[in-house]
């Protein structure tokens, strides 16, 4: 470590790297220097002046106190953080910060966890010398998530810098001078970025607080329970703040390898759904007079009998078993164990996939392809079919960092995504995605075999394709290029072909390939064997069962639905509801009552939601993260693994003698000991024809909006009020709208096979021609068919006459 230098802080000799700031060294040494504007993840502003210290270099003292956050260390520097001069400067700043700050901590939501309050205990005076009138500042309306009390603002500008530097959208800024300086939105705009809730944590005072949480609890009444966020494949480390058995709010836990110090708004505010009125709190059974509550003992007997009867009468192959990929590893493992114990094999957790032609070729344990933090080091990334900001907000943040460091980020997607960094985007209708990829493959010099070869050879490569290919090649050669497949690729009827092309591009450019698993435990489902073609430990199945779609296109006599709302969590809700409605037995294990479940199910078994059970999630990078339940499930709801264990006992299956979730985890872990995620395909991908839209139809682009991704989020009211939660609508390219004689705001009826739904039209050239973007999993979308598939659009006449 020859490049280390030595400095002295408060008489203590410290090692430091040249160019480091004093505060960084002091923090490492555990020497506390008060600060407000400094934050290690944000640029240095040096404006709060709280961290002023006395310093000397080479025996010559600096003439003025220097800000520790912005003063680089030099060899032999001596720093005094608590000398008379330093303390006077710090106390001076403290006094200035307090003169216009309301000193009414008892009525401030931040009271008890306020940096200003804490620091004032050490550096403030008992009595203020300020006898003039205090400043009062008008509040800003930042939307449903963030409450403001701008009179409390101390102008540290952390929130402003967060917007500019982390979010990439300058949602907040400073206006006015001197005492009249205000933090605000300039134009009364809602703060809508998917990470914006982090400014609540960043704000050192009570100026920005959580709107859903504020005034409901005090910091000292809360216990912090560590947990893992359940809505995406990042596996953000969080802490649940609990009071009286209720999750009051969610905060991030630092984990540099995963979520750094941030969490997405989805992870922060979804806890509200835990207390939704739609929670299922008792087992229910459908009788002649409708739904009736029942007790666990009898309902489980009823379910066990029902399942055994189906197996006895029609064979275990008549069992369909669908599990949400956000279930815990333990639930997924026990679920498949139970089904397979009954002799069944039709289990799947890939609920938003419709093309399973690649199953045989798919890698055993597909994953992101690299540790999450390494995303930042990529020099070129090609995203295929991904609205990444909505799917995986914190992975998007990592990619943004890479892009700002100069990486090329290319995107082949059915619509243009508003990325907050430079990007090369090739929007193409779902049926054209393969052609765009083939063009990139061609530009990269990929060959391919059989029909893929023809597709690539005949592709039409333009400048952008060539640019993307060149960047990928260069990065690939240096070992930091990546091709990523996202949720819209997975939902495509051409998923197999897109994967084949993605592998071709990766091969030709030397880039790594990666998958963006759609849910918190999609990777875990492969480990647990909750797939028709995989056993626990991702071992191959001799005779694969039916995949998620086939279970619905070839209806079964009985179904078990785990954590699924048929209208919102399956790729083709109309078909799903039809298949389920025709079944003899539908057992729904769910945390929420929903209309579609009540319509198709015979029994509803209340299982615990996130935060109410212990378990394990395996994130995109293959990290197994265990968590404990923080609160009890409501009413008679029970942790899912317990339900499965008891059911297994009742069915007299062997291997269901677990005493804890930990036992289940250990049992599975033992089977996975020699298994690591690996994206090497097991065979050549079969190449079918592309799903081009027929004449007169458009291809639906059914993206799942950020706050529609699972039942918990959909039940979280504040998130549902944000601008990112748009109601059902049809987005059309201007040329398609013109061809159909439609204008912005027109009402149309969209037909998808026999399914129909009415909605307004939004015209936007973000969408590729030939596509019709209708969000999935939002209210009303359950009447429609496949997320990606042909649609016909007809104007609803007469609406305007009334």
């Amino acid at each position: 470590m020859s490049d280390k230098i030595t400095i002295e802080i408060d008489g203590r000799t410290c090692e430091a790297a040249p160019g480091e700031m004093i505060i960084t060294v002091a923090d490492r040494e555990g020497i506390s220097i008060p600060r407000f504007c400094y934050h290690e993840k944000l640029s240095i502003a040096a404006n709060c002046r709280m961290c002023l210290v006395e310093a000397e270099q080479g025996g010559r003292p600096f003439p003025k106190p220097v800000p520790a956050c912005a003063t680089p260390v030099g060899d032999g520097m001596k720093v005094q953080t608590r000398s008379r001069k330093a303390l006077d400067a710090q106390r001076g700043t403290m006094e200035f910060l307090l003169i216009n700050h309301p000193l009414d901590c008892p009525i401030c939501d931040q009271g008890g966890e306020c940096e200003l309050q804490d620091v004032s205990m050490g550096y403030g005076e008992d009595v203020s010398r300020f006898t003039e009138r205090k400043r009062v500042v008008k509040d800003e309306d930042l939307g449903p998530l963030i409450a403001t009390e701008m009179t409390r603002c101390i102008h540290c500008t952390r929130c402003v810098r967060f917007g500019a530097e982390i979010a990439g959208v300058r949602e907040l800024g400073a206006t006015g001078r001197g005492e009249d300086m205000r933090i605000g939105t300039f134009v009364a705009h809602t703060v809508a970025h998917e990470l914006s809730g982090n400014i609540i944590d960043l704000c050192p005072v009570g100026a920005l607080t959580s709107k859903p949480y504020r005034f409901t609890a005090r910091a000292w009444e809360l216990t912090a329970e560590p947990s893992i966020a359940p809505h995406d494949a990042v596996g953000s480390n969080i802490q649940l703040h609990v009071r009286n058995g209720r999750v009051m709010r969610v905060h991030p836990r630092d984990n540099e390898a995963i979520n750094e110090t941030w969490i997405s708004d989805r992870d922060r505010f979804s806890y509200e759904g835990l207390n939704a009125a739609s929670r299922l709190t008792a087992p229910m059974i459908k009788g002649d007079s409708g739904w009736a509550e029942t007790d666990w003992q009898s309902v489980l007997h009823w379910v066990a009998d029902g399942l055994q009867r189906v197996v006895a009468d029609s064979g275990a192959d008549q069992l369909g078993w669908l599990m949400a990929p956000g279930s815990t590893l333990e639930e997924l493992y026990l679920g498949q164990k139970l089904l397979r114990g009954l002799g069944g094999r039709n289990i799947d957790s890939r609920l938003r996939q419709q093309d399973f032609s690649g199953d045989a070729a798919d890698p055993a344990l597909p994953w992101l392809g690299l540790p999450i933090a390494d995303l930042e080091q990529q020099r070129a990334v090609l995203l295929i079919g991904s609205d990444i900001r909505q799917e995986q907000p914190l992975l998007a943040h990592r990619l943004r960092k890479a892009a700002l460091a100069g990486a090329m980020v290319g995107l082949v997607n059915p619509y243009r995504v508003e990325l907050t960094h430079p990007s090369r985007q090739l929007p193409a209708a779902p049926g054209r995605l393969a052609a765009e990829l083939a063009a990139i493959a061609k530009a990269a010099g990929a060959g391919g075999r059989s029909s893929l070869k023809g597709l690539i050879a005949t592709a039409d490569s333009g400048d952008v394709h060539a640019e993307i290919a060149a960047a990928l090649k260069q990065a690939g050669a240096d070992g930091n290029g990546l091709v990523l497949l996202g949720a819209l690729a997975e939902a495509s009827p051409d998923f197999g072909l897109l994967k084949a092309l993605a592998y071709q591009i990766a091969d030709a450019t030397g880039c790594r390939i990666g998958f963006l698993p759609p849910a918190a435990n999609s990777t875990g489902a492969a480990f647990a064997g909750a797939l028709p073609h995989r056993l626990p430990g991702a071992r191959a199945v001799d005779v694969p069962g039916l995949d998620a779609l086939a279970q619905l296109t070839e209806p079964r006599k009985a179904y078990v639905l785990w954590g699924i709302d048929p209208a919102h969590d399956l790729i083709d809700p109309a078909r799903a509801v039809a298949a389920l409605a025709g079944a003899d037995l539908v057992v729904a294990c769910t945390a929420f009552r929903t209309p579609s479940l009540e319509a198709v199910a015979d029994v509803l078994l209340p299982i615990s939601a996130f935060a109410e059970t212990s378990g394990t999630f395996v994130n995109a990078a293959g990290d197994w993260q265990r968590f404990q339940g923080a609160v009890a499930p409501p009413g008679d709801a029970r942790p899912g693994w317990k339900l499965l264990r008891v059911l297994g006992n009742m069915l007299e299956l062997t291997g269901f003698e677990y005493a804890s979730a930990r036992d289940i985890h250990d049992a599975l872990a033992a089977q996975c000991a020699d298994r690591a995620p690996d994206n090497t395909p097991r065979a050549e991908y079969p190449v079918g024809t592309t799903a081009e839209a027929a004449d007169g139809t458009l291809m639906r682009v059914g993206n799942v909006p950020i706050y529609a991704v699972d039942a918990l989020v959909r039940a979280a009211p504040a998130l549902q009020r944000t601008p990112l939660s748009a109601p059902l609508h049809l987005q059309l390219h201007p040329a398609d709208a013109e061809a159909l004689g439609l204008q912005d705001g027109d009402q149309v009826e969209v037909a998808q096979g026999p399914a129909r739904a009415c909605m307004p039209v939004h015209v936007s050239d973000d969408l590729a021609r030939g596509g019709g973007r209708i969000p999935a999993a939002v209210p009303g979308s359950g009447q429609l068919g496949a997320q990606i598939g042909p649609i016909r659009v007809a104007k609803v006449s007469g609406e305007n006459d009334q």
Binding site: M50, T93, F96, E132, E179
Partner: protein, 429 residues
């Protein structure tokens, strides 16, 4: 009277008022001779900078930093765009000298900026002019047009291969944008707030590129220094205080005006040039370098010469050369309350001590002035000012603090009187 007036920045002042700002007038006094020489001979910039160092020209905007030294900090031969920026955002209360350079001798500033650009390797310059200077802005723009038309600005000038483009950028009324890094932020279209240094502008300035920022008067002095030599310029003033300097004499004088006189001219001579104290009153005090510098009692001032070192000895600073004369009979509490209000109004708001402290000072002074002072207020003022000074990113905090401390030092009895009696010791002059 003082000899050697109007020898540098005001060297067109003897010409007819209607035409003295034109290109022809400037050419008639030898204008653009140095720029043409530079273009023709392509001298080593280092030799030009040496000449400037010899002249002991110190920054005329107020800080007094040696101009030649500043230019030598620029990484001249480093690749990438570099900029020369002229600070014509003349907002220091009492200062109006740059305005008159823009009005009466804009071409000399253009020539100075072009030469500066050559010396530091900048092919683009910005002149950031105070937005309220309607007439000077028009004059400068007119001069820019003439210079471009004459082939003195633009690309490949006089076939030399040297490029220099110059743009006008207007301020929008913020005093703080006269601070050089706030000025850069403002040019970039951002809120005018000083940047933390380091990095200094010579490393990362405008748009992150190496940039030199000089005052209007400093840049306008350059052509004459090169024409007559650094030694000549130095000889105009005193050692370490080279050249003549513009003084804006305002306040209680009979004939307020700008005067270009050698540094070292006794204050009493300058006062005489301005017609003496108004209405024959006695001199009470002088703020010798713009509102941000400490006040000096009249008797001390009458024995002080107008150069950087002499005024420093008298306990103040030469600053921008704005000499504010205060006559006997003036209420010093009122003067200070006025100044304090100015700084509270103009603080950019980013640093806590300045944002909160300037308003506090202003409110307390306002209260005292209106008869609601308390004896403890004076120590409070002194202490609060002391907690602002030296603790902020830029010098505005110091500028707000210094008058308070110096007024209390010299005129504490007036404050005490007002607090005790509820009315000023001195009625308005």
């Amino acid at each position: 009277m003082v000899k050697d007036q109007n020898t540098v920045c005001f060297r067109t002042m003897h010409l007819k008022e209607k035409v003295r700002h034109t290109l022809d007038s400037y050419l008639s006094v030898g204008g653009y001779g140095q720029w043409k020489r530079v273009l023709n001979e392509r001298p080593d910039p280092a030799t030009l900078i040496e000449e400037l160092k010899l002249s002991a020209l110190r920054g005329r905007g107020g800080a007094g930093f040696p101009t030649g030294l500043k230019w030598s900090f620029m990484p001249r031969s480093a690749p990438g765009q570099k900029y020369i920026v002229c600070n014509s955002d003349e907002g220091e209360p009492g200062t109006c000298k740059d305005r008159d350079i823009l009005r009466w001798n804009p071409h000399q500033l253009i020539e100075g900026m072009a030469i500066a650009g050559y010396c530091i390797g900048a092919t683009v310059g910005y002149n950031y002019i105070r937005g309220e200077f309607y007439e000077p802005i028009a004059r400068f723009d007119e001069a820019l047009g003439e210079a471009y038309a004459a082939g003195l600005l633009g690309r490949d000038l006089l076939g030399s291969g040297v490029d220099f483009d110059l743009y006008t950028h207007l301020g929008a009324g913020a005093y703080i944008c006269g601070e050089e890094t706030a000025l850069l932020e403002s040019i970039e279209g951002k809120k005018g707030q000083p940047r933390f240094k380091p990095p200094f502008p010579a490393q990362a300035g405008l748009y992150g590129q190496p940039t030199t920022i000089n005052n209007t008067e400093s840049l306008a002095s350059v052509p004459v220094i090169l024409e007559k030599g650094g030694q000549w310029f130095l000889d105009q003033g005193r050692p370490n205080n080279g050249g003549p300097k513009l003084f804006s004499v305002t306040g209680h004088v009979n004939a307020p005006n700008n005067f270009e006189v050698p540094l070292g001219t006794p204050f009493w001579e300058l006062l005489e040039m301005a017609g003496g104290v108004k209405d024959g009153k006695a001199l009470k005090a002088v703020i010798p370098g713009g509102s941000s510098v400490p006040v000096v009692p009249g008797n001390i001032m009458m024995n002080t010469d107008m150069d950087y070192d002499s005024i420093a000895k008298a306990g103040s600073m030469l600053g921008s050369g704005a000499v504010i004369v205060i006559a006997e009979g003036t209420c010093m509490v009122r003067v200070l309350a006025n100044l304090a209000h100015f700084y509270a109004h103009e603080s950019c708001g980013q640093c806590t001590p300045c944002r909160e402290g300037t308003g506090w000072l202003s409110r307390v002074l306002h209260r005292i002035l209106h008869g609601h002072g308390r004896p403890s207020d004076l120590d409070l003022l002194d202490n609060v000012a002391g907690r602002i000074g030296g603790r902020t990113i830029c010098a505005l905090g110091d500028a707000a603090a210094m008058p308070v401390q110096s007024f209390l030092q010299h005129y504490r009895h007036e404050f005490e009187h007002l607090i005790e009696h509820g009315r000023p010791m001195e009625q308005a002059a």
